[in-house]
């Protein structure tokens, strides 16, 4: 009888212990050894709770990827705003210069040539890669447009301009001295003709 009672008490003790452990009151000790993603995620300042709570490696990776994507996206958005601001400042300055030369009796460069569009990415292929933020492309300006002072019907469109052609075109559009403007347009047309021949 006493042996059965002892067995019974041991069983109840075991059952109670199992319940307590299952409730999470006893936590396993932290692992000892090299840093793992789980410990890095809990200690790194940039870690958010998502990575720590994700159970599988894929889930953790997905959380980290999302954090990186979101962070890069937010930063790129700020850069874009800053670049827009730069373009607006430049356009405002050019508009002031144009207004000053109008009052001196010269023609106005077309407003369509000084846009605030986002600059081209820096990693385009071949020689067409841009090196600065100048809003080079003149949207909506076609051959024969009088606003930018280009000679009518002889100026090719600038959609396939390389770096040099873009620069020439922009200089021609922005030039206020009529003689120089004419020379620059001629230079641009000549350059385009020669590059097409090659």
């Amino acid at each position: 009888m006493s042996g059965q009672m002892a067995d019974g008490r041991r069983f109840r003790l075991f059952a109670v212990t199992a319940v307590v452990v299952a409730a999470g009151c006893i936590t396993p000790p932290p692992p000892v050894g090299p840093e793992t993603p789980a410990t890095a995620a809990t200690t790194a300042p940039a870690a958010k709770s998502g990575a720590a709570l994700a159970r599988t490696s894929d889930e953790r990776r997905a959380v980290l990827d999302k954090q990186l994507d979101d962070s890069i996206g937010a930063f790129d958005a700020r850069l874009h705003k800053e670049q827009q601001k730069i373009a607006e400042e430049r356009d405002a300055r050019q508009a002031t210069v144009a207004a000053t030369t109008v009052s001196a009796g010269n023609e106005i460069p077309s407003a369509g040539t000084a846009t605030t569009e986002t600059p081209a990415p820096t990693r385009a292929t071949g020689n067409a890669r841009t090196g600065d933020l100048q809003s080079d492309k003149a949207t909506g300006v076609s051959a024969g447009a009088t606003g930018n002072g280009a000679p009518a019907n002889v100026v090719p469109d600038g959609n396939d301009d390389d770096i040099i052609a873009r620069r020439l075109r922009k200089a021609a559009e922005q030039e206020t001295d009529p003689e120089l403007k004419d020379k620059l347009w001629k230079e641009y047309v000549e350059y385009k003709k020669n590059t097409r021949v090659r």
Partner: protein, 406 residues
């Protein structure tokens, strides 16, 4: 009688004549242009260039000594502006040559570029520009080592505002630098150019995730950085690094935009200052030359009148009267010439003062613009640095996750 009297007459005549003008003719310089690309360069050989803002070249020993600075025609605030302006003009020259990839002006702390150009302003006035330039690539190869370039102003550029706008008076300097860079590049094989680009990418990657990128770079026998091995094209860490590199390019582009706008903003006033500086320096030089000439000849005439011995016979009164007259005229002419020379020195000082006033006025205008552009650059690069810290940490976690998925 003849020789001594003739000598005195000559000296007297010269002393009188130097009261007139000594004109210094400046001829227009032959124009040097940067060599333009005649064919498309393959994308993987097209090198990106960072032109760092130049060292203003204000000697530390006289930086607080206004008198010494004025004597050397160094105006510190103008030099600060010029350090960015010069870099911008060089950038434009390189970019419009079509020989390079992305060419941007950046502050010194921007690293990880294929080709890096840095330099110092040795002298900069409206009359002369002298620069010292160093060019290196990302492997550590030195293309140009403290090479000096100098040029007088092309006076044709100062003739009208349009001429000044069309071509910088010192464009020859920038064209020479660009052409020398091209020569150095042509001496590098196509394979080495491709390696320069790969080394740049791997150095950037290593800075972000050192553990992941360990072992991809090494050194060759010359001590230059080389590619030891390449990451797999579908390596997840590399793909993420490429994305961050695009953002980094955006930062450099934005900073370059600040500098471009700054140069644009100051160009008109700076052009006027340079033209005025050139004219004042020329006038000052001319009056100094005249002053020296008059003083020397004046002194020579006085000396001649005193020390050339009397050649007339004792009883040759006509000769003695003529000789005395000539000697007196020489002495008077000489003294007048010396006095005239002294006045010219004083005029030269006036021109120097006029230039100083002009420069101070321009300095006041441009120093505020320098503070603005540097403030914006520091703010952006500071923000970028904080961002990179966060991205380094995330990439590190991803690297550990990829290595120990369980």
């Amino acid at each position: 009688m003849g020789t001594a009297v003739r000598a005195r007459v000559c000296a007297a005549t010269l002393a009188v004549m130097t009261a007139g003008c000594v004109v210094h003719e400046t001829k227009p310089l032959p124009k040097i242009n940067a060599l333009q690309a005649s064919s498309e360069i393959p994308g993987d050989e097209l090198l990106d260039v960072a032109v760092h803002a130049f060292d203003p070249g204000v000697p530390a020993g006289i930086a607080k000594n206004e008198q010494a600075l004025n004597k050397k025609r160094i105006y510190p605030d103008i030099r600060q502006a010029e350090s960015r302006y010069v870099a911008t003009l060089l950038r434009v020259t390189l970019e419009t040559s079509g020989q390079w990839g992305a060419v941007r002006v950046c502050p010194e702390n921007v690293q990880f570029v294929d080709v890096s150009v840095s330099g110092k302003i040795i002298e900069s006035t409206g009359a002369k520009l002298a620069l010292q330039v160093t060019v290196k690539d990302s492997t550590g190869r030195v293309w140009l080592n403290n090479k000096q370039y100098a040029s007088a102003a092309d006076t044709g550029s100062y003739k009208t505002d349009a001429a000044l706008k069309a071509r910088d008076p010192f464009q020859n300097v920038y064209s020479e630098v660009a052409n020398d860079m091209l020569t150095a590049r042509e001496a590098i094989t196509a394979q080495d150019r491709r390696d320069i680009r790969r080394v740049t990418q791997l150095e950037f990657a290593k800075d972000l995730v050192p553990q992941a990128m360990d072992g991809y770079l090494g050194r060759d026998q010359k001590g230059l950085m080389k590619v030891a091995r390449l990451p797999a094209t579908d390596d997840p860490i590399s793909i993420r690094i490429d994305r961050i590199r695009e953002s980094d390019s955006g930062v450099v582009d934005t900073v370059n935009g600040y500098y471009a706008n700054f140069a644009d903003q100051m160009s008109e006033s700076y052009g006027q200052w340079r033209r005025a500086s050139f004219l004042e320096i020329e006038k000052e030089q001319r009056t100094l030359n005249q002053a020296r000439t008059r003083t020397y000849l004046g002194a020579a005439a006085v000396v001649a009148s005193v020390f050339v011995p009397q050649q007339c016979g004792m009883y040759d009164y006509n000769c003695r009267r003529l000789s005395t007259g000539v000697r007196t005229a020489a002495a008077i002419g000489g003294a007048a010439s010396i006095l005239s020379g002294l006045k010219k020195y004083s005029d030269a000082k006036t021109h120097a003062l006029a230039l100083k006033e002009l420069s101070e006025s321009f300095q006041n205008e441009v120093s505020a613009q320098v503070v603005d552009v540097e403030g914006r650059t520091l703010k952006l690069t500071g923000t970028a640095e904080e961002q990179y810290r966060e991205w380094r940490e995330l990439l590190h976690q991803m690297y550990l996750e990829d290595r120990n998925p369980n």
